[in-house]
Symmetry: C2
Subunit: 109 residues, 2 copies
DNA sequence: CCATTACATACCTAAATGGACATATATCCC
DNA sequence: GGGATATATGTCCATTTAGGTATGTAATGG
């Protein structure tokens, strides 16, 4: 069960997850949406499943995969600590001041 | 300029970014906060810089690194497409229905 | 039962890369 | 200048792994 960022690091796996955004898809369906061979798709789906990012449901001969939010949430939460670095227009100067709250900014730098 | 998820896939790099959460840090400072050698820290900082995740500011002999939000934002935005998978209690059944909005749920499946 | 369809697994290989050590470069201080 | 400090780069290596091909397995239909 590798960490979620390592899972997301591979473009093919992200493409698979993008194809799953609007619901369950079969393996063959996913193969058509990528440039990967069927075994490669199955392999990446296996990795996604082992890491808890997708779930599998059997339906006859078909295997239907779907997104499981829980693991992706970890990544999102990690990134949330950095939101302030783009939400406010934080410059490095602002940061420097933030680290030394005792010294007030001087009029002339 | 590798993609941001590949950058974040390496734990050492995430540790460096965590150490930069509350502002600029020098290289030596970051070395003390990791178990990496100084050259390894410099190497990873170089990668982070090339990918636009951190910025460098020289201050005498010291090189001060800081977070640049822009690149991380891309990752956060990608993940935002999956928020609904954990924000609502979405089951696979819900998803199936979402994919076929024309057919109403039948009383007996 | 047999062919077909749908998917998974085994195995292999080429490529990428994280981290270490040695060394180069730059700045500071005496 | 010269030594010390701070950081960067060069080089090497062991490890990981994405993707392909070949093959195995399970479900469906006649």
């Amino acid at each position: 069960m590798a960490d979620v960022f390592q899972i997301l690091a591979v473009p093919s796996r992200r493409h698979l997850l993008e194809a799953l955004r609007d619901g369950e898809r079969s393996v063959g369906d996913l193969v058509h949406r990528t440039r990967l061979s069927q075994p490669s798709v199955s392999k990446q789906l296996r990795i996604l499943r082992d890491s808890g990012v997708v779930a599998l449901r059997a339906a006859g001969r078909q295997h239907l995969y779907s997104i499981r939010g829980r693991s992706l949430r970890e990544a999102s939460e990690w990134l949330s600590y950095y939101e302030r670095f783009w939400q406010e227009g934080l410059s490095r100067m602002d940061e420097a001041l933030r680290r030394e709250p005792r010294s007030r900014p001087r009029r002339n730098g």
